[in-house]
Amino acid sequence: MAAFVPPGAHRPGGNNSNQSPSAQQHPPPPNFGNSPAALADNLQNMNLNRPHSAPRPSPFSQPPPPYSFSGPSPGYRPGSQLMARPGPSPPNAITRPMGPPSGALPGVAPGRPMAPPGTRPPPPGSLPSSMGSHMGLSPRAPAFTGGQATAPPPPGVSPRPLTTGILTPPPPGPTQAGPVSNGPPVGSGPRFGSPGGMSSSVPPPTGPSSPSAPAQVPSMGPFMTGPPPTSMPAAPPFSGQPPFSAQPPFSGQPPFSVPPPPAMGPPQGSPFAAQPWQMRPDQMVRPPSGPGSAQPPQMYGMPAHLPNQSMTSISPGMAPTGASVGGPSKIDPNQIPRPIPSSAVILHETRQSDQANPPPPATSDYIVSDTGNCSPRYMRCTINQIPCTADLLATSGMQLALLVQPLALPHPSEEPIQVVDFGETGPVRCSRCKGYLNPFMRFIDQGKKFICNLCGFTDETPRDYHCNLGPDGRRRDANERPELCRGSVEFVATKEYMIREPMPAVYFFLIDVSMNAMQIGATAAACSAISQVIADLPEGPRTMVGIATFDSTIHFYHLKRALQQPLMLVVPDIQDVYTPLQSDVIVPLSECRQHLELLLESIPTMFQNNRTAESAFGAAIKAAFLAMKSTGGKLLVFQSVLLSVGIGALSAREAEGRTNISAGEKEAHKLLQPADKTLKTMAIEFAEYQVCVDVFLTTQSYIDIASISVVPRTTGGQVYYYHPFSVLSDTAKLYNDLRWNITRPQGFEAVMRVRCSQGIQVQEYLGNFCKRIPTDIDLAGIDCDKTIMVTLKHDDKLPDGSEFAFQCALLYTTLYGQRRIRVTNLSLSVTSMLSSLFRVADLDAQFTCLLKQAAMDIPSSPLVQVREQPVNTCINILLSYRKFCATVSSSGQLILPEALKLLPLYTLALIKSTGLRPDGKIDDRSFWINYVSSISTPLAIPLVYPRMIPIHDLKTREEEGSIVPSSIPLSSEHISDGGIYLLENGDDALIYVGGSVDSGILQQLFGASTVEEIPSQFVLQQYDNPVSKKLNEVVNEIRRQRCSYLRLRLCKKGDPSGMLFFSQLVEDKNHGSMSYVEFLVHIHRQIQTRMT
């Protein structure tokens, strides 16, 4: 999908021409770039307008173009150049801590503010998701450039400085592994952003970037230094870091930073750890923030925890936390590991020195330069080196798996994936394993033959592809041919890859018009959303549209132009459905635009008095499927009530489960399983005919997501859940979700396979797809948000030191009917060292796997077991590290591998998450399970460990430079009764208003003078004051980052909504489970027990 290329991105290659031209020139639909922007804009508008009047207004259309285009593209280039630099710096690669930290820190501070601030702001509300990323890009791009060149990006002033700062740091980073790692923190920073991060960010601007960087590092340093033996050379830098801590002071910012700063002020290394923080506590709850800031650098794998002094002695990799013995009391809550927000953009080269370069954290803001391995956005491995034997892997306690997100949105500054057209012969492949040509296939015999890196077979080079080898043993044309030098390329598929003409883009909308749907306004909201989204459908004669409504019958609409008005065709047989017309139910968009609009307008009135309460969802999707069967396509269903009649009818088993508690206890998880196989069977058929189903559940009652979600899951679709649906607050989200659903990069009728070098096999694929043969997965639809987890297993011993390759090939059809094969390659080195494994473990990927597995187990196992599983995994990993890798230390210390030091926190958060909480509503849990099944790595962490930011003092921090203020730990200690907090997890957002908030602030933010006056059906409005504007900016920025519009809910202290908010504070002791500190102690004890 050239088309998918990031919005702003230029398609360099001629290949892309088809799409890119359009993309660039026509702002409207085709390009993501544009569309994203557009989205963004729309969102904005939505936001603004929402409250007041109908969402529809034209407003949307306007803004988009500006952004995406101009912004991004310019940005890119500069960016790329910059990128180059980092390369050189790499030299020192070794110490991750070092480089990165320094870089990161500075970066962080700036980073946050950085890209987003400048660029993002523009898009404001607009693009939720897609945009977000894109937007982000453009902004970022600027950031880079800014650093070096003029301040291209319009971004805020602050940003530049920051950026510059950032940039500079990276270079250092690169030198050592450290930098890389740091990078991530930056990115991640924003999401989780610990307060510290925030504060630090601010400061950066002020001070020279470099200094700041060091400062932070330092904090880390202490830890680092000790341990790093392996690759940690960076140690020295750390020491330098103290400056960091210093930074915090700089920031001096209000709440957060403040605490640390003061203490920190003296940034010097030693102080950091213990003293500063503890001291700090004074003002804000925050004190931790200080530490936080320090932490960020650590994210990577760096040492850096504040831990006790003892820590220092610890090996670099570890971040010991409080001593166990003493019990919680001895642990300083401010020093325990927490995600460190970082805002700096990290430049990441996928391979350096002919070795895979461990990727930055998934949540960080980074720009990838594809130097042979694919970008980690497309494919991540849980461990960035491959254990040579299954035993070694087992010993580590870790899991080996890939997270593949083949159409992931790239950073706008990244070079787009190049499209390679081999003409009629098609791409060169290994004749044995059918692996695609990639940079790791070795050409021999003057280039006449090549050896497959996957199966080891030697093939003849096709004559017209022959090229001589250079002195380095590589083909002379290797650098000109993307397939020989890039980890990700896209091949144009030939006829061989098609069993029919590539399918057209078909969109079928199916809307619930039952009594309930009408009454809660869901139908009107859906119609309005669809009607607005029509403009975003891909232009062209091949775009087809159909629409149907349903209650206890299914109503199709004959949209053919000749008719005076649409004709409604009712299919009443909901046990055995059929399509009411052979043609004309789905017609080319260009022929039915007017009818469609008219119809969407009249549907809400037409069914206004509908008294049919039943819903034949199953029959309706089946009927729609029959209409789409000949082409395949996207089926978008808006459903509001439980499927109660016709095919696959369900019962309200949640209620049954409740009344039947005694029996329910043991069987509770059965409610999370599909009620029967009907829908599954149907879904498999849908998938076979390339129909991808997305379900928008706008409901106020139990709808049995467990059963319904089978359909989207099997067909590569998605479930959207609006519960309890509110016209007021959810209409805008519905529209934006729908819009993103349609405009995001995506493909149809796809098939995916992952190939591995010999010695390891793909064990299982997990995600939203249909599997008919063991090796491949079929995806009726695949989009940029979908991630597939691939578990691996050894079937042989691998030679130590060799390279091991993974190749993911995705054959799909673009929106515009081109057949493409996207190939992403990842080659990692094989190791026999356990410590190496820990060093290069990818926390985000590991945790994502843990999360997905837990989600998968929920419906089939008793909850107690499911909750134990991740904890055991966590303990096993730490135990293994402690046993085999940690250098001597007192048994009283909990020692964490640097790379995985947040594992306990995330594990704790996981067992407190919606899905694993025993008190959750069935549908909420089902939705959660379903959401997790395809969740991408960058979104996995916020889902369980949301980002919380204070928003009552936005104004005072204006100078910060980062749009999104740094986050604070999820602990009630950090909540003040006079504060207002925003907590978001990438899908939902809660705004908590304390009990004694200054009425001035309330007035400014909510237009109400007391908490009580704020309507509980909350809609974020923008008032004419800087604080409100700022808040909107922040929210829009988050939307962009998350590619999601976020459901905003208001929580007030003292009522159930307030409880909801506090239940999200995972570090607290709640849900009947441990607080973070207790949990660490628990783990520590377990490890101690098992050690002995």
């Binding site: 649409p566 409604m568 047989d573």
Partner: protein, 776 residues
């Protein structure tokens, strides 16, 4: 066409007007005891009484044949001899003050049953009265544009002709069935049913959201509101959704029709269109059943081809399979036939139980399956018209006639129920004609069943002025002549028909007839005096048709011949073994010729027709009155010439003359045949010249007469105008007695004609008959 009115006020004609006493005697008469009744035949003398009838315990209604004791204020029922007291409101009765039903010449009276809510359901379970008529149009869309256009305009015209309050519904179909919800105002809305799947009434109701007790209704309390409006208690919202008064939905229906396209589903080359007539009809029936059970409603189906999809299929979609022929049916080589008949039989049962009618208007060059659908049409008393095209006048004019008001109106009535009560010893075998047995057992039910039998009550969902039924009687085997014979020399039959007239009024018509018993052993002469040749011929034709359809390997010709010979043997005057001495009583003299023509008619010689045509002919044969039916068997021929007034001519090829014009009325078609000379003159345009006015008049006269016939007839006959030796002349020649064939052409007079056939002529036939009749 008899100028007289042989049926009189009663509309009853019998084969025998004096009855033999015993079963044995009756069987010797050869021609069965039968009555042809036209229950609603209008007659100016029939009084309408605005009150409910007075009934005897045996259910017989008070009639002129009852003996009345004016002083005792009681009456004796002629059927059961029971005495009943007059009720109080008859207290004024006296010899000079008789209620209408007792006037001796009012053997037929009509009661307009007052609509009283308290009145218990009338005996047949028909609902309270005063319902507007209901028309559910079912239109086939598997046709070429042009045909569909004709059909649509016919429909529009029909809707325009309907009374304003008539309820109208519309269903179109092709591959699938589309039920149009005319009451949905936002946009055109149709319910689509798959054509390939049989659907029960309950499913139709459920799926159209009309189920009473379904869960949907439970969730839709508002829906019940519409129930009582329009005076349809017990009915559903369906009345306001799918059936609307013509005045309200005419515009909607017009626009629906305007937008209606021919069926859009693809047809593979070499295949027939996929047409689900069966499902369409059952959906229409289900809808009516859900909305208006028990009220008068008709499904008016316009069918343009054979059903090829789903239940009721009569032929495969593959064009290389021809639609079944009589030969196929004979050889059991029609794979769909039995199944389809069974399906339509089920549909008929459903419609009858709902009291609804199926009218079939089939227009196609090929067959459409009337043979299979016959059962549903006939049992419900529906109308049927077969033509070649919706643009043809046979269809257009007939269709219009159905909806026209006034003098020519068909007088379509609904929900008829016929009950027959007869004197002791008389048994009813059954009825041939458009009705359904209600399975009401009684002592008067014969063990032998012919047609719709085993009952004394019949349902006629649709009934009109011309509807005619043939009742076949039997005598009880018990030979108790002495007892009953002495008591009463008269036999009585009472026919009671209740129905809903076009205005929605519930009516009851009572006809009481009496005939004389005779001891035929004594005098066959007397018996013969009561013989009705025409009726006998028609009854024989109906029985023959019935037997041909129901009895395997029935040899109609042989059976007719033997019957005729037996009749002649019994009633002819002759000396044994002397054919020349054979003569027939005048009251029997025409019968052999009727039989001769019947043997040659389309009813017996089916192989010249398709099964559809045969079914069509037979349905009309069974429902028309005796005169018309007789014309079907033996057409009438009128000759026009300069020399004389128009006069009936012999149905013989000898009647053809070069200077004559012949008008043949064979019921289904009317042929105007110009002799060669006439044709030449006409072609030269003489009639346009003033001095040849007489010629012009001569040309015009048969035209006028033909139009007169056409105007009165339903279905409208096909008019064929032809010239001697022209290709169309075959329509005439086929009906003539081939007295002159190529074998004896030399004997013929000039200007006459010959028929190229090997069929025997009437003369030869009679000769043989005489020979056989006199054989000892």
């Amino acid at each position: 066409m008899a100028a007289m009115d042989p049926e009189g006020i009663d509309g009853v004609r019998m084969t025998w007007n004096v009855w033999p006493r015993t079963k044995v005697e009756a069987s010797k008469c050869v021609i069965p005891l039968a009555a042809s009744i036209a229950p609603l035949r209008p007659h100016q003398d029939i009084p309408t009484l605005p009150y409910a009838p007075l009934r005897c315990k045996c259910s017989a209604v008070l009639n002129p044949c009852a003996s009345v004791d004016y002083t005792g204020k009681l009456w004796i029922c002629p059927f059961c001899f029971n005495r009943s007291h007059f009720p109080p409101h008859y207290s004024m009765i006296s010899e000079t003050n008789l209620p209408g039903e007792l006037y001796p010449h009012y053997t037929t009276v009509q009661y307009a049953i007052p609509s009283s809510p308290l009145q218990p359901q009338s005996f047949d379970g028909s609902p309270p009265n005063s319902h507007p008529p209901v028309f559910m149009f079912v239109l086939d869309t598997c046709m070429i544009e042009e045909e569909l256009g004709f059909a649509k305009s016919a429909l529009k015209q029909a809707v325009g002709l309907l009374p304003e309050n008539a309820l109208v519904g519309f269903v179109s179909y092709g591959t699938q069935v589309q039920v149009h919800e005319l009451g949905f105002s936002e946009l055109s809305k149709v319910y689509v049913f798959r054509g390939s799947k049989e659907i029960s009434k309950e499913q139709v109701m459920e799926q159209l959201g009309l189920a009473v007790s379904g869960r949907r209704a439970a969730g839709a309390p508002g829906l019940q509101k519409g129930a009582v409006q329009n005076g349809f208690p017990g009915s559903h919202s369906g009345v306001t959704r799918f059936l609307l008064p013509a005045s309200e939905c005419e515009y909607t229906l017009d626009s629906v029709l305007d937008e209606l396209q021919t069926d859009q589903w693809p047809v593979a080359p070499g295949n027939r269109q996929s047409r689900c007539t069966g499902v369409a009809l059952s959906v229409a029936a289900g809808l009516l059943g859900a909305c208006l059970p028990g009220t008068g409603a008709r499904i008016v189906a316009l069918v343009g081809g054979p059903c090829t999809e789903g239940p009721g299929t009569i032929v495969s979609k593959d064009m290389s399979d021809p639609v079944r022929s009589h030969k196929d049916l004979d050889k059991d080589a029609a794979p769909f036939f039995k199944k389809a008949v069974k399906f339509y039989d089920g549909l008929a049962k459903q419609l009858v139980s709902q009291g609804h009618v199926l009218d079939l208007f089939a227009s196609a060059l090929d067959q459409v399956g009337i043979a299979e659908m016959k059962v549903a049409v006939e049992r419900t008393g529906g109308l049927v018209v077969l033509s070649e095209s919706f643009g043809h006048s046979v269809f257009k004019d007939s269709f219009r006639r159905v909806f026209e008001d006034g003098e020519q109106s068909l007088g379509l009535c609904f929900n008829g129920t016929l009950e027959i009560i007869c004197s002791k010893d008389i048994k009813i075998q059954g009825i041939l004609g458009p009705c359904t047995s209600l399975e009401q057992k009684g002592p008067a039910v014969s063990d032998t069943i012919i047609g719709e039998g085993g009952t004394t009550a019949w349902k006629m969902c649709g009934i009109d002025k011309s509807t005619c039924l043939t009742v076949l009687f039997d005598l009880s085997t018990s030979d108790k002549t002495s007892t009953s014979g002495t008591v009463n020399p008269q036999l009585y039959l009472q026919f009671r028909t209740s129905y809903q007239n076009p205005d929605g009024q519930t009516m009851l018509r009572v006809t009481t007839v009496t005939r004389r018993w005779i001891d035929s052993a004594l005098s066959s002469e007397d018996l013969l005096q009561g013989f009705d040749q025409e009726t006998a011929a028609v009854v024989m034709a109906r029985i023959t048709s019935y037997k041909m359809e129901t009895e395997d390997g029935f040899d109609a010709t042989r059976w007719l011949d033997r019957s005729l010979i037996r009749v002649c043997s019994k009633f002819g005057d002759y000396r044994k073994d002397d054919p020349a001495s054979f003569t027939l009583n005048p009251s029997l003299s025409l019968f052999p010729q009727f039989m001769f023509n019947l043997r040659r008619s389309q009813f017996v010689q089916v192989f010249n027709n398709s099964p559809d045509e045969t079914a069509y002919f037979r349905m009309l044969l069974n429902r028309e009155n005796i005169s018309n039916a007789a014309v079907m068997i033996q057409p009438s021929l009128i000759s026009y010439s300069f020399n004389s007034l128009p006069q009936p001519a012999l149905l013989d090829v000898a009647s053809i003359a070069a200077d004559k014009i012949l008008l043949l009325d064979s019921y289904f078609s009317i042929v105007i045949f110009h002799g060669m000379t006439i044709a030449q003159w006409r072609n030269m345009g003489y009639h346009n010249e003033p001095e040849y006015q007489a010629f012009k008049q001569l040309l015009q006269a048969p035209q006028d007469d033909a139009q007169m016939i056409i105007r009165e007839r339903f279905p409208v006959p096909r008019l064929v105008v032809c010239d001697q030796h022209g290709s169309q002349a075959r329509f005439l020649l086929a009906k003539l007695n081939p007295s002159a064939t190529y074998s004896n052409a030399h004997e013929m007079a000039a200007g006459s004609d010959v028929i190229f056939t090997d069929d025997v002529s009437l003369q030869v036939f009679i000769e043989h008959l005489q020979k056989l009749a006199v054989q000892s």
